[in-house]
Each structure stands twice: as structure tokens, then as C-alpha cells.
Amino acid sequence: MAIIELREVTKLYGLGDAMTLALDEVDLSIEEGEFVGIMGPSGSGKSTLMNIIGMLDQPTHGTYKFNDRSVAKLRPMRRAKIRRDHIGFIFQSFNLLPRLTVLENVALPLEYKGVSTRRRIQRASDILERVGLRNREFFYPNQLSGGQAQCVAIARALVNNPKIIIADEPTGNLDSASSRLVMELLAEIHKSGNTVLMVTHNPELTRYATRVVYMHDGSIIHDEKTRLGEVAPLAKRVMYGVPKPSEEDDLAGVSVLMSAVPGADTVEEPVSKSKKTRAKKGKKAAKTRRRKVSS
């Protein structure tokens, strides 16, 4: 059963001439137990998609169903409670509260749930044990390394036994050793049956995913299943067949990696099914892609 279902989800920001189309009629279904990697250049809408899935934001159009319940009908307090109980967030910059100890940070979602002090301290301690940081319980975030801080953030995300973990570039600020540590932890969480959504720029990290979704200009342009332990096929192609960056690409702000992505390059195989989007892409793509293909 799809735990997350988005149908023609669109997000617009701003007004009039300053309006930005952050998500363009995105359709996405995520089954329970999947580890979905989300890749795309900056500005492709990855974070917006994560914010909407995580109920931090609401779509301008389209429907979003979480556990087969429409989110649009939920009040803000109800959404906050779902976020608290069913969704765990992991951020690139860890986002631990500096005035609270590691234990207090991890226990915070339980505090909002109204769990007694004794029980939430015990639960937080158990989770920290799971991530291997029980001996740092009474440290403050500024006393931890990057990897440790991210592990604490993961512990906080897990403390309420959420259905879904949303990780927005969890290894973005980490060195390779810490990154591996964090990813192994996420893999373990996935193995335990949790659903994980992870935004990443690093194709190597798709080894941990069972499915990879590629985004560009607010749309999902490619969606492929992948095998655990292997880099996703498209990401591999992009990684090893990387074209040389051109001045035009740099000026256009186009990611070199995405230049080689099929959906980003061709007009004949659009992923979006809507005619409107096809027409829009046709016009836009014709202008943009001709430039890229020539490079």
C-alpha cells in the first residue's frame, strides 16, 4: 500500500511577475519500506517536495494522501501531530537545539507528545544506544563531531517510531567517514522496516536506495528502481560519463551531472503525462536543450 501518494501536486511561490513554480504537477507514490533517493540540481524542487511530504508546507494544487488520508483536510495542529508521531526529519545542518543536551534533544519529540519525564528519558537513552552514542548523553551539541551530531539527529527522528524518515542531504556537511557512518545507520533503519526518503547530490549514496527519483525544474523526470549496494544505473551513467562543463552551462547554472540525464536532455521522452506540461516543456526544452546538445 502506498504510504505517500501525490497526484498532480503543484507549488507556487510569490505573486504576479515574481511567481515561481517550485513543483509542477508532480505525481509520486511511495510504498512502505522503500528507500527512495531524490536527486536533482539546486532549484529542482527537491526540498519543496520534502517539505510537502513532511507536511511543513501545503501544495497550491493537487492532492497529497498520507496513509490514505487526504492531508489537505487536516488542521495545522493535526499535521503537527502527524509530523511528531509518524515523520522523522533529518537535516543537512543537523538542527540540534544548542541549549539542550543530547539526551534532551532526542527526547524532545516525546516531550511534545506528553510522555512522562522518566519514560521519555529512558526511551531517548535506548535510541542513543542504538545509534551508538549513549556515552554522549549529557554532552551538548557543540561538543560533538559532525557525524555524531547527525547520529543524534537521526536518533531524534527515530524516537517516536515514525513511519517515514525524511533526510534532506544528511551527509552534506560531513566528511566521507562520517557520511558512511550516517548512511550505514540509515540503511539499518531501512532494514528495520522504516520508509526512508533521502535527498542527495551524491550519486554514490544511491547504493543505499531501492529507488531513485530524478527531478528537474519542479518535475520528476526519471524514476527507476535500483538494487541495494549498487549505484543507480542513471546515476552511474551520469557519474562516469560526465561531460566536460562548458561556460554556457556555468552561466545557465546547469548541473553538469544533470546534463547527461535523459529527461533533462530530450523532448521526445517527457515523464510528465499532462498535455499542458508537455506543451510547456516543448517550448522551453526546445530553447534550452539545443544549447546543451551542441556542447
Partner: protein, 409 residues
């Protein structure tokens, strides 16, 4: 207490401690606003109790005649009458004599303050109060001579004095200095009696006789060569009519003596003490008004500090919302901090005020009373300040968009 509320209080403490100077100054403002109010309430309560005790001990038969007109509509103007026109002004020996013949008056005594220096064994006392009066004074005041005897008018040739308890301690370093002598205006006086302790209420018009040395009125006429100026005449009613009727009779006689001019005031003892209440009430009102302004300023200070705190912690608010905090929970968090600031100020103010009142009790004649009602009122007031001035910053924090907040540096 819910887990969230307890957690909020702990986090509020942590936040207050992390900005010690800022929090300390804000708390100081609250303390400075509350201390005067609580102290004046304590003083007022003490004075009320003293007044009640005095009324009970002196009875309501006592009538006080003083020079000058008491303006009952302007309580603070009565303060000039409070210190007393003790140089006499418009009361004379003739008034005293005339009152002796009023049928509804039982006894009358004049009171005059005689300036001078008292010398005891080469020690001089400039601030001792020497009062000249007549033999009926103790009876009028419903007081006895505890040791020795009060002088009699027929003994006016003798230089004998009666001292109050505190005067005895001050001059002679003992409580019963019978037979001891002192020099006053070139004359040697012998202590013939010690007056029983009287309950003098602060802010009342009655002289504190515990600190006075009383000498025969008729002696003073000989001493200074003229009638001593009278600052007060005490009288009591016979009981044949009401006290108010006696007051009316006294007024009529004195008006006649003063050529139709009413430049004196005649009051029952109860009226006397009510004036003290009025003065106190006015003082309390003025102090409370000033304190209210100070409280408003301290409340605005709390609001200002909280707005700064909310802005500084925008990102933290975003994180909390991302992990599931609801708007009411964010509101509660910042309200807890504001209320904790004001309540801390309130508690410190209560302690400081208690200290001030105790110091006043030990060092002055005032007897402040610390009441549970006043303390609880002040505590609730401090909570209210925190709630009223914390609601705007807390609401601002609760309304923040989590995505925008997470982007904040």
C-alpha cells in the same frame, strides 16, 4: 503539572540563565515596581492595626481640640496638622479655662510643648519632648502611672515630672528612675512617676507620650514668665449627652471665645484616627499609581526582551515545529519564559520588601504588617504582568512559518 509545562519551565530557566545581564535587568525592573507597593501596603496594614489598638485603649470618649482647621477634603494638607502647630497658634489658656466650664465636659487638660535642653549628669538631650499638662492627663488617656505618682495641680510649686517608658530609658538608662533628677531650663526636676506604656499610632495626631517628659503646666507659666503656647487640648464627655453633642458644645464655646472665628478644630478621637487613615489611604494611592507606571514600564521591558528572544531563536522555533511542536506548545514555551521572568521579579520583590519592613520595624516607630493577602496579591500581579506582556511575543513565535524559520541564520 504536565510534562510539556515542566519542560517549558526548565527550558525557560535555561534561556534566562543564558542571557544573565538581559534577564537580570528585566527582573530588576519588576522588583523596583513591586517593592514600593508591597512595602506601603505593609506599612498601611501596620498603621491600621495600631489605630485600632489605640481606639480600643483610649476609648471613643476622648475629644481633641487643636489650633487650625483640618481640611478633610485634602488629606495631604492634613500633614501640616499632623506635625502639629505645636507652638499654639490659636489656642490659649483662656480657651482651656472656658472649656472647664462646659457642662457636658468632664475633664479638660492642656498640652504644651516646652522647648529646652534636658541635662542628666552632664549629658544633654536636645531631642527629648517636654510636655506641660495638668493632673487629669492620665485619666483622660485611660492610662495609669505604672510607677510612682502623677503630679497634682495643687503641687504646682514643686518641680516634679512624670516620664514615659522610652524617655526613662533614654535619659536615665533604666525603666524606673523614680527619684532621679534632671536639669531643665535652669530648674532641677525630680522624676515622680513613670507612665504606663501607651499605644501611639504612627500618622495619628496623638503625641507619643512614651517618649515624653510631662511637667506641671502651672510650673511652666512660672518658668517662662508667660502662658505656654498650647498645641492641643484634650477633653472627655460627661456621658450625659453623646460625644457629638459635647463636641458641638465645645465648638460653640470656643467660637465665642475666638470672636466668632473658627480657627480651631474639634474632633473625637475616632475622627482623629480616621484622618490618619485618610492620609495613609492617599499616600497608598499615590505610591500605587507610581508603582503602576513602573510596572507598566517593566512589563514593556519584558515584552521587548521576549521579542528579541523570539527573533534570536527563530531557527529553533522552526526546528521545534519540524519535529512536531504545535502552535499552542510554542506559545506555551515563550509564555513560560515571560511569566518566569516576571514571577522571579515578584518573588525577589517580596523578599526585599519583607527585609525593608523588618528594618522599619526594628529601627522606627512604624510597625509594618506582612499579610498573606498582600503577598498573594503581589505574586498574582507578577504572574499577570508576565502573561499580559508575554502574549504578543509568544504569539509571534507560534505564528512563524517553519520553513522560513529553518532558513533563518
Amino acid at each position: 503539572m504536565s510534562a510539556v509545562l515542566r519542560g517549558n519551565i526548565q527550558m525557560a530557566w535555561a534561556s534566562i540563565k543564558s542571557a544573565k545581564w538581559r534577564s537580570g535587568l528585566t527582573i530588576f525592573g519588576v522588583v523596583m515596581a513591586i517593592v514600593p507597593v508591597l512595602t506601603i501596603l505593609g506599612i498601611g496594614e501596620g498603621v491600621k492595626r495600631q489605630i485600632n489598638e489605640q481606639v480600643q485603649s483610649l476609648g471613643n470618649n476622648l475629644i481633641t481640640i487643636r489650633p487650625g482647621v483640618v481640611d478633610t477634603k485634602n488629606p495631604l494638607a492634613q500633614l501640616s496638622n499632623f506635625s502639629g502647630n505645636k507652638n499654639g497658634g490659636t489656642l490659649t489658656y483662656k480657651d482651656y479655662q472656658a472649656l472647664q466650664h462646659v457642662q457636658t465636659v468632664d475633664k479638660v487638660v492642656p498640652l504644651s510643648i516646652v522647648p529646652g535642653v534636658i541635662t542628666v549628669n552632664d549629658d544633654s538631650f536636645n531631642d527629648a519632648t517636654v510636655i506641660a499638662s495638668t493632673q487629669d492627663l492620665p485619666e483622660l488617656l485611660n492610662r495609669k502611672v505604672q510607677h510612682g505618682d502623677f503630679f497634682e495641680d495643687k503641687q504646682y510649686g514643686r518641680n516634679v515630672a512624670v516620664v514615659g517608658r522610652e524617655a526613662a530609658e533614654l535619659l536615665f538608662k533604666e525603666g524606673v528612675p523614680l527619684g532621679r533628677s534632671f536639669e531643665f531650663r535652669g530648674q532641677t526636676y525630680v522624676v515622680g512617676g513613670v507612665l504606663q506604656r501607651t499605644n501611639a499610632a504612627s500618622l495619628s495626631f496623638t503625641t507619643d507620650l512614651n517618649k515624653a517628659i510631662i511637667i506641671p503646666y502651672h510650673n511652666v507659666r512660672e518658668l517662662i514668665g508667660q502662658e505656654p503656647p498650647i498645641y492641643e487640648i484634650l477633653a472627655n464627655a460627661t456621658g450625659d449627652k453623646t460625644v457629638e453633642d459635647t463636641v458641638a458644645d465645645i465648638r460653640a464655646v470656643l467660637k465665642r471665645e475666638h470672636g466668632g472665628v473658627v480657627d480651631f478644630s474639634v474632633m473625637t478621637h475616632v475622627e482623629n484616627l480616621e484622618i490618619a487613615n485618610n492620609i495613609l489611604g492617599s499616600l497608598t494611592t499615590y505610591v500605587t499609581a507610581v508603582a503602576a507606571i513602573a510596572l507598566l514600564v517593566s512589563g514593556i521591558s519584558i515584552m521587548n526582551i521576549m521579542l528579541v528572544s523570539v527573533t534570536e531563536r527563530t531557527r529553533e522555533i522552526g526546528i521545534r515545529k519540524a519535529i512536531g511542536a504545535t502552535k499552542p506548545q510554542i506559545l506555551e514555551q515563550f509564555m513560560a519564559e515571560a511569566v518566569l521572568l516576571s514571577v522571579t521579579g515578584g518573588v525577589i520583590a517580596i523578599i526585599v520588601s519583607f527585609g525593608i519592613q523588618y528594618a522599619l520595624l526594628v529601627t522606627t516607630d512604624l510597625k509594618p504588617m506582612i499579610t498573606a493577602e498582600a503577598t498573594v496579591l503581589v505574586f498574582l500581579l507578577s504572574v499577570l504582568i508576565g502573561v499580559i506582556f508575554g502574549i504578543v511575543p509568544a504569539a509571534k513565535a507560534a505564528r512563524k512559518d517553519p520553513i522560513e524559520a529553518l532558513r533563518h541564520e
